[in-house]
């Protein structure tokens, strides 16, 4: 294992900003794994730390295939995590909206440029991603439908779902999108949570990443089998929104099976405790996403259900 400083920048009053990478194996750029890029991606950081720990052992045991190089960057934005801020500590910009970056541009553009310079040309790119809405997911692989995505390879993670979605204009500045444009097979892995730690869900993600690397003969590290992945798109999702604002009490979680008409959640009047609305499942399916903050606005997307017909 070789520990490398990928990017360093001094700060007026803080310690130097450093992005640290851990390289394993010798040879072609085979797989790059990126953890937290935002300051609240604790789960993502944890997953990467465990991957580094396991790769150290695997490398010592001689079980990284010859000619394969693996790079793990557990955290591309330690400054924000140390302040518990999601985005860049000074100007609130999002590094994951700055790719492919610009080395003569603004600070986060330069960080993205340095990162991308290191991350490009890997055969496979895995990013531990998070969602812009607060909630829990069934762990899954997410891919942008750029025309370059490879859902066949995504099945090697053996996670329950592969979610392929149409890119929106703002997605064009994300790492996943740019990896794909630059011929890296890119996968975003949603490990369930953001800003919290769930070690069981993290283990599931870690197993999935090693399953992938094992299937691709990058490492020899047999894992227990996972799922036969189901490919889903927005057409398979039934979105459930709150009709009322108030205090939200959730009765089901991500990965729960529900029947049409099942009670999913209640919205409670914040003054007198009356039930303002009972959220019923509009279909039979699996809860793919569940909002988890205790307050909801009107029209908040509180569940996404993958319909089972």
């Amino acid at each position: 294992m070789e520990k490398k400083i990928i990017f360093r920048m001094n700060s007026p009053y803080r310690d130097d900003f450093r992005i640290t990478g851990f390289e394993f194996g010798v040879g072609e750029k085979t797989v790059a794994i990126v953890g937290a890029m935002r300051g609240d991606e604790i789960q993502q950081q944890y997953v990467c730390a465990q991957i580094v720990k396991r790769l150290m052992k695997i490398e010592n045991d001689g079980k990284i295939d010859k000619g394969c190089k693996i790079l793990v960057i557990p955290n591309a934005n330690p400054f924000s995590m140390n302040l518990e801020k999601r985005f860049w500590s000074m100007d609130n910009t999002d590094i994951n909206r700055m790719f492919p970056g610009y080395d003569k541009g603004e600070t986060t553009q330069r960080i993205a440029a340095a990162l991308f310079d290191t991350l490009k040309n890997y055969t496979y790119g895995i990013q531990l991603a998070s969602f812009y809405m607060p909630g829990e997911f069934v762990p899954h692989v997410r891919m942008l439908d750029t025309g370059y995505q490879d859902t066949a390879d995504a099945k090697f993670f053996e996670l329950p779902y592969i979610y392929v979605r149409k890119p929106r204009p703002y997605d064009s500045t994300m790492l996943n999108y740019n990896w794909q444009i630059w011929n890296t097979f890119a996968f975003s892995i949603y490990s369930g949570l953001t800003n919290q730690l769930n070690t069981d869900l993290a283990e599931e993600t870690i197993h999935a990443i090693f399953r992938f690397m094992n299937s691709k003969r990058i490492v020899t590290d047999l894992q227990r089998h996972g799922y036969v992945s189901e490919i889903v798109t927005d057409d398979n999702h039934v979105v459930v929104q709150s009709k009322k604002a108030g205090i939200y009490t959730k009765l089901v979680s991500a990965n729960h099976a529900v029947e049409k008409g099942d009670l999913l959640a209640r919205i409670i009047d914040p003054y007198n405790g009356d039930t303002l609305d009972e959220i019923l499942s509009p279909c039979k399916g699996i809860v793919f996403f569940a909002h988890y903050r205790p307050l909801v606005l009107e029209d908040t997307i509180i569940f996404r259900i993958i319909e089972v017909k």
């Binding site: 007026p12 603004e106 600070t107 204009p169 108030g246 606005l297």
Partner: protein
């Protein structure tokens, strides 16, 4: 007449309401819209809305048409000094045209978009951010330059910046409207969290001039002749910090500089030394100057228009 454009319930005994003020005179049903406050930390447009609303109501006999003024597209952001919509990660100006079946921010964006569709002209007023101070300027996507530059010149701004198209900008309000045939001009001026009164006054006169040329207003307009520059007459140079520290400018914004002239310095306040002397890379007009002193390597300090 003040009406609601969008309304949604908040968790505890409050409604979020986006409002507009409709000022109507004469018989024409043509519509002209002024919007601002997409970013909650940009307040220059507040003064423009106030002055324009007050003026038009006092001169209603000279108005022919509908003038809709939307001073706060992001009321919660303005209230909480938050650039985006609080509790929503995405920039509001990156989610247009919105989604009627989306989350609250997306339904709000969609309601705003639908309300503006079909206007003769929309002016979207921005105020940079808290980091940079801008001279009054109109920004136009190169795809719309032929149509919009003549209108932009009417707005009495110093500079018209025709910028390249970028995929990420396709979800801005201006792009969403322009792409379906509702012309929209983006104004940038001043600095975040502040009001620069003379910029506001100048822009209001420009808006009145445009209203007059489009037939919405037939009264007098107080416009001073000034030289306007269009970016295609030259190039825009970006000046980014070469190191982290405290930026101390030597000049005010809106100054013509010679190549090599000092714009400022980046200093280390702890050790009392100058880390970088910032000089102009060319002869040109400084139309953007950093307002927030702390800089990191890469922080934008100035933009300079270099005339050919």
């Amino acid at each position: 007449m003040v009406t609601e454009v969008f309304s949604s319930e908040l968790p505890i005994d409050e409604r979020l309401t986006i409002k507009k003020n409709r000022i109507k005179g004469g018989n024409s049903e043509k519509r002209f819209c002024i919007v601002t406050g997409t970013h909650g930390d940009e307040l220059e447009g507040q003064y423009v809305c106030f002055l324009l609303s007050q003026f038009l109501q006092e001169h209603i006999d000279d108005v022919d048409g509908v003038i809709d003024i939307y001073p706060a597209l992001n009321p919660l952001g303005i209230d909480s000094i938050t650039r985006g919509i609080p509790n929503f990660d995405l920039d509001m100006n990156r989610i247009f045209p919105g989604d009627p079946r989306g989350a609250m921010a997306e339904t709000a964006a969609n309601a705003i978009y639908n309300d503006l569709l079909g206007a003769e002209m929309v002016i979207d007023i921005h105020a940079s951010n808290i980091f940079l101070r801008e001279i009054p300027q109109v920004r136009i996507n190169v795809k719309n330059a032929d149509l919009l530059v003549p209108y932009g010149k009417e707005l009495n701004v110093d500079f018209i910046w025709i910028h390249e198209a970028a995929t990420v900008l396709e979800s801005t309000l201006a792009h969403s409207l322009n792409s379906v045939g509702t012309p929209c001009l983006v104004v940038e001026m001043g600095v975040g969290m502040r009001i620069t009164r003379h910029y506001g006054t100048s822009l209001v006169n420009g808006i009145l001039q445009l209203l007059k040329s489009l037939g919405f207003y037939r009264g007098e307009v107080d416009i001073e002749n000034k030289e306007q520059f269009v970016s295609t007459q030259g190039e825009v140079e970006f000046l980014n910090a070469g190191c982290s520290g405290v930026f101390i400018p030597s000049i005010d914004n809106n100054q013509w500089m010679k190549k090599g002239e000092k714009i400022g310095m980046i200093v280390n306040a702890l050790e009392g030394n100058v880390l970088e002397t910032v000089v102009s890379p060319c002869d040109g007009l400084v139309f953007t100057l950093r307002a927030y002193p702390i800089v990191y390597e890469g922080s934008l300090m100035a933009r300079i228009f270099k005339k050919n």
